[in-house]
Amino acid sequence: MPLASSALSDPILSCTDVGYTFKTRGGRRALDAVSFSVNKGEIFGVLGPNGSGKTTLFRLLSTLVPLSEGAVRLAGFDYPGDVAEARRHFGIVFQSPSLDKKLTVAENLSTHGHLYGLHGAELRDRIDALLERFALTSRRRDAVETLSGGLQRRVEVAKSLVPQPALLILDEPSTGLDPVARRELWDYLRALRRSEGLTILMTTHFLDEAEWCDRLLVLDRGRRVALDTPEALKRAVSGTVLTLRTKTPDAASFIDRIAAEFRLTPVLRGEETLELELPAATSPEAERDLLNGLLRRYRPQIAGLELAAPSLENVFARLTGRAFDSVESADEAAPDETQNG
């Protein structure tokens, strides 16, 4: 849900021309002049396939990698000048868990609180409230290593909220979670946004997850290719999308035949999947004719036929000229060995 325009005047996080070049690996450009701002109370997604630069962006925002190009301003504090102050204002959920598995749930939270200068009754109350909110109260004395993956992720999020951050940054929070746990995590995040006015920025390579964000920054090969609401992005891809699945992994062999017979340009999306983008002006009758035509001609070979509104996958393909999941990066790692000043 888009926010009221009054909030737009007061971004909680703004990035201007942020760039990053790997010092090793032949000086590859990981991020190139990326600018955006995140408004208070919004769920902001950074979408991109592996190697798009989103993890590098996350590392820069989380201050683990020093900012060398561009400017970042968080809750009124600039990187790298006021970085110590800025660190007080965001909570971070890393992709690889940052919990101590030998410690209990409550111990992890209190250790984290101490690192942010919290102590005593204030910290205890805060921890109690968070455990309650995340339905972890009954597990507070359990060692983290005994919890399931979904529960550990919940503890992770609870931990990052102990210092009451204004902005929560999450790096691919759903990675490794099953669909139920993923949905549950999202319910918690939405509830937090509602009750505490928390602003959330997350990187993701799940397209369905990206649809749940208020706004999306789409990255490809280190560049910003789009920034808008998921709805607006999808409107940019006109018309409807027809997906055809074949019974045998030879979808490629249909491309030329379909192109010739139906005057469309099918795009290969996998060994068994073809995609046809129908122009916006296509009438329902024309759609019906197309479906009938395809069925008449190829029924024995067709495993599935789906007519749907464009997905973010189509948006990505349109924006970059490549399929989202075909972008296999030779180099998806983020900066790690950099010298820090």
Binding site: S62, L64, S98, D100, H114, L115, G117
Partner: protein, 270 residues
């Protein structure tokens, strides 16, 4: 529980506590840290001592007990070394498990993390040595307050040095295998060449030089002196003042280097 509410002390306190809690929750570490040196002491001490054949056992003491006596300070040094190694290996784990990321992104100076790591290892080593010291007192080790002060002070400073040394080795590494290689190549020889196993005085000239250049030689000399009746300086030991100076200087240098290396390098991720 914490009355130390200054953010820096709070951070050091909580991270030190974590080190100790982690240690106590891993029973194999507790057993390994205590049993291994004791086993070393008895096996090497009894075995090597009885095969020396040229001991100077006075009265009814046999050669074997004389060597056990000689080897006891070396055992304590070994305990400190083992604990230091185990506690600093956990840096590599912290990085792999990701705990370190959360600490480094927190609004505390990195020195707090370093100090906590070193203090954690030091306190563990200190506790173990104290325990064994108490056992030894029970078995007739002469007690005096100055000797106790010298002993505890030396053990603490040595613990700090060795955890800092382990930290310096572990910080740039990304695998525990790498750490073991360096440990065998570097830390264990340091222990051998400190005079822990055999007096360096009677050995080859080059070994003596290496021993003199080894800072642990001086720490061990202090422990040895603290365990002698009336703080007598054992034969072939460097003077106490020199030993104290080298031990303190070594600790200060390594502590500084550990903080420096942590401030320079950013975190490495899996």
């Amino acid at each position: 529980m914490f009355t130390l509410t200054h953010p820096f002390l709070l951070a050091v306190g909580t991270l030190t506590r974590r080190e100790i809690v982690r240690f106590l929750r891993q029973r194999n570490r507790v057993v390994g840290a205590l049993a291994t040196p004791l086993a070393f002491w008895f096996m090497i001490g009894s075995g090597v001592g009885s095969s020396f054949g040229s001991g100077t056992g006075a009265g009814k003491a046999t050669d074997a007990t004389a060597y056990l006596h000689y080897f006891f300070p070396g055992t304590l040094l070994l305990i400190i070394l083992f604990t230091a190694i185990f506690s600093t290996i956990s840096i590599i784990e912290d990085r792999r498990e990701g705990f370190l990321q959360g600490v480094l992104a927190a609004p505390i100076p990195r020195a707090a993390f370093v100090l906590a790591k070193l203090l954690g290892g030091t306190l563990l080593a200190f506790g173990q040595c104290l325990l064994i010291y108490l056992i030894a007192l029970n078995f007739g080790l002469p007690f005096s307050i100055p000797a106790c002060f010298l002993f505890t002070g030396t053990v603490f400073v040595l613990g700090l040095s060795l955890t800092a040394l382990g930290y310096l080795i572990a910080w740039p590494l990304d695998s525990t295998q790498g750490f073991h290689a360096i440990m065998n190549l570097f830390l264990m020889p340091m222990w051998f060449l400190s005079g822990a196993l055999f007096p360096l005085a009677g050995s080859a000239r080059w070994l003596q030089y290496l021993g003199q250049a080894n800072p642990l030689t001086y720490g061990l000399a202090l422990i040895r002196q603290a365990l002698e009746p009336g703080l007598a300086l054992p034969a072939n030991c460097p003077p106490a003042l020199l030993s104290g100076g080298v031990t303190l200087g070594f600790a200060a240098l390594l502590l500084w280097a550990a903080i420096e290396i942590t401030n320079r390098l950013s975190v490495r991720n899996p």
